[in-house]
């Protein structure tokens, strides 16, 4: 009886002690002399050094927060639980936020780097979700394509149709997300990836159901490890991951399929009710500086739309890499995702459920 008490007491004490020990190491940094800026970005989506450099150069303190999907970011921003200044959502989410009147128009005169360094073709692609280029500055971008293992296929993979080839049964990895999966089937059938036509969607759905027996697994980020480990021959993957996986396994090849594919862009936006708009513009502009953007590119390894930064990449192979920087003018069938409205989303989700439960 008594022993049990002492035992519990020791446990309690040690809990307290270890916590205290850990706490002595913490020193808080004070607020900046020029106010603050509150940034909400994807996890692991910036080189922490660049934040420190920004704080040092401008005297603005950065309060930095991270999210893991567009869908978890949206309600937090919308509810106003925490007031953010700068957010970095993806294309279709930006069009949703524009529709919900949540974004502030940007003043590009205050952001000379954003005007000069970001390539014109990326602003052009952004028009898909931000028609007048008023609200967003591209930060990272990429394509969705096929990664395949040369040693495990009989001929080079060049198009989506090969993901329906029975030769590769049980060797195919598909993305486990509605839009990405439907994008593949829609491009296969020659539709737009933003279609909300129920007939077209039904065709795409039937294609996915037809493909299902051949698919080894619907995956999200496991696709990296599975492809590196040679557990599957063909996988649908983001171009940003392709460079990393190739470094780990040189047998892997990345292609943009002939039928066309999705080009995605994550862009900086400023919220309409941002408490620190001026600092927010300074932050975005700083991130567009060539030397800063190249640091971030090396940290994230996702393609940068920043032409000045691309010039600064030391590794020639990467600077001229077809994967990281495909020449967009070569393709006329690339599309960005657009927000489909609540009904559109519901339709896709319904169809996706039918695919998954079939």
């Amino acid at each position: 009886m008594k022993n049990k008490t002492t035992r519990a007491a020791i446990l309690t004490l040690s809990c307290l002690l270890t916590s205290m020990a850990a706490l002595t190491g913490c020193g808080a940094s004070g607020g900046g002399s020029n106010g603050e800026v509150i940034v909400y970005n994807w996890g692991e989506y910036i080189d922490p050094e660049t934040i420190e450099m920004f704080e040092k150069e401008t005297g603005i303190k950065v309060v930095y927060d991270e999210f893991e999907t567009n869908e978890t970011m949206f309600p937090k921003v919308e509810s106003g639980a925490a007031s953010y200044d700068v957010v970095c959502p993806s294309d279709y989410m930006i069009s949703k936020m524009i529709a919900a009147d949540m974004l502030a128009e940007l003043n590009f005169d205050n952001m000379p780097n954003a005007k000069a360094n970001i390539g014109a073709q990326y602003y052009e692609q952004s028009r898909g979700f931000d028609p007048d280029n008023k609200y967003s500055v591209p930060y990272c971008w990429g394509t969705v394509g096929i990664l395949y293992n040369q040693t495990m296929v009989e001929e080079p993979i060049t198009n989506w149709a090969q993901l329906w080839d029975e030769k590769y049964a049980d060797n195919i990895l598909m993305q486990d997300s509605v839009r990405d999966a439907f994008m593949v089937a829609e491009k296969l059938n020659g539709f737009s990836m933003n279609t909300v036509d129920p007939d077209e969607l039904a065709v795409a759905r039937d294609s996915l159901i037809e493909q299902k027996p051949l698919v080894q697994a619907y995956v999200i980020d496991q696709v990296r490890d599975k492809m590196i480990g040679g557990e599957a021959a063909i996988g649908v993957i983001y171009s940003g991951e392709a460079i990393y996986t190739q470094r780990e396994n040189p047998d892997l090849v990345y292609v943009i399929p002939e039928e066309g594919t999705n080009i995605w862009i994550d862009s900086w936006v400023i919220l309409k009710d941002a408490p620190n708009k001026e600092n927010a513009e300074k932050f975005i502009d700083f991130m567009c500086r060539g030397d800063i953007a190249v640091k971030n590119f090396e940290y994230i390894t996702y393609s940068t739309p920043n032409d000045a930064a691309r010039e600064l990449i030391e590794d020639e192979d990467i600077r001229n890499s077809e994967i990281a920087f495909p020449d967009l003018s070569q393709y006329d069938n690339l599309e960005v995702f657009v927000y489909l409205g609540e009904e559109g989303d519901a339709l896709y989700n319904e169809m996706w459920k039918e695919v998954k439960s079939n």
Partner: protein, 263 residues
């Protein structure tokens, strides 16, 4: 034959319980970033862990919130138990039922409703709101472990103390409190653990720039979880393991068996 089956069964249970942890520990020494390849033995994730300001900050936050919230919840919960024990049977069981609801409730409901509450009162989201919500969901666990001990108390001892001239306070601290202590301590430990591994409620009530370990790990999902996290988890696991071994062997370990029999 039966013996062998028993051993196999136990082994299976242990494999299911510990294989994931062992995998994680092994990967924390893997020089390659991917789980698919063994890049050789390394300790570099451990050294970069301690240089990573973000992870260290999240660790400090996690521990700080766990300690403060479980202490506060223990005090509040214990007082609540004392008060409830003086109530009529019916009121008490109604109140107990009410305090049990948050435990049975899904975390996501608690999380969202706390978030809405904080918004409607104009709180600034941050460390404070996480702390408040952790205290809130910890209280029922304390009550749950203190209340049974409260019921076992012999009310006459308290009255005897009063008869012998002790004040209410003295009587409480000299007579009732020592008897409650085991319940209070286990309530504290339970609250501490609950706070330590909560994700959902923290996710909804946290503000910009504040992260606990669980929310920090979750944000890394898009780009893949960093091996530093494996290293940190390994350290935490080993610490807890050592602590348990220490507690179970060191103070009067010989008496342990006897004690258990007596109970």
């Amino acid at each position: 034959m039966r013996n062998a089956a028993r051993k196999v069964y136990i082994a299976l249970i242990f494999i299911f319980l510990y294989a994931p942890i062992v995998t994680l520990m092994v990967l924390s020494f893997n020089a390659s970033k991917t789980r698919a390849k063994w890049g050789g033995f390394t300790l570099k994730w451990y050294s970069s862990l301690f240089q990573n300001r973000d992870i260290m900050e999240a660790l400090v936050n996690t521990l700080l919130i766990a300690v403060i919230s479980s202490l506060a919840a223990t005090v509040i919960g214990t007082i609540a138990c004392v008060a409830m024990s003086g109530m009529k049977r019916r009121t008490r069981s109604v109140l107990l039922g009410v305090t049990n609801i948050p435990m049975l409730n899904a975390d996501i409901v608690t999380g969202i409703s706390l978030m809405l509450l904080f918004i409607s009162f104009g709180f600034r989201f941050g460390f404070g709101t996480i702390l408040l919500s952790h205290i809130t969901f910890n209280i029922p666990y304390v009550i749950l472990s203190v209340m049974p001990r409260m019921k076992q108390l012999n009310p006459s001892t308290y009255e005897a103390a009063l008869d012998l001239g002790a004040s209410h306070m003295t009587a409480f601290f000299k007579v009732i409190f020592p008897d409650l202590l085991p319940g209070i301590l286990s309530g504290f430990l339970m609250a501490f653990t609950m706070s330590l591994d909560d994700f959902i409620i923290t996710h909804f009530t946290k503000g910009a720039g504040v992260d606990t370990l669980s929310t920090k790990i979750y944000t890394e999902v898009k780009k893949g979880i960093k091996p530093e996290m494996y290293a940190l988890s390994t350290i935490i696991f080993v610490t807890v393991l050592l602590l348990l071994i220490l507690v179970n062997t060191a103070p009067g370990g010989k008496n342990d068996n006897k004690d258990n029999k007596e109970q």
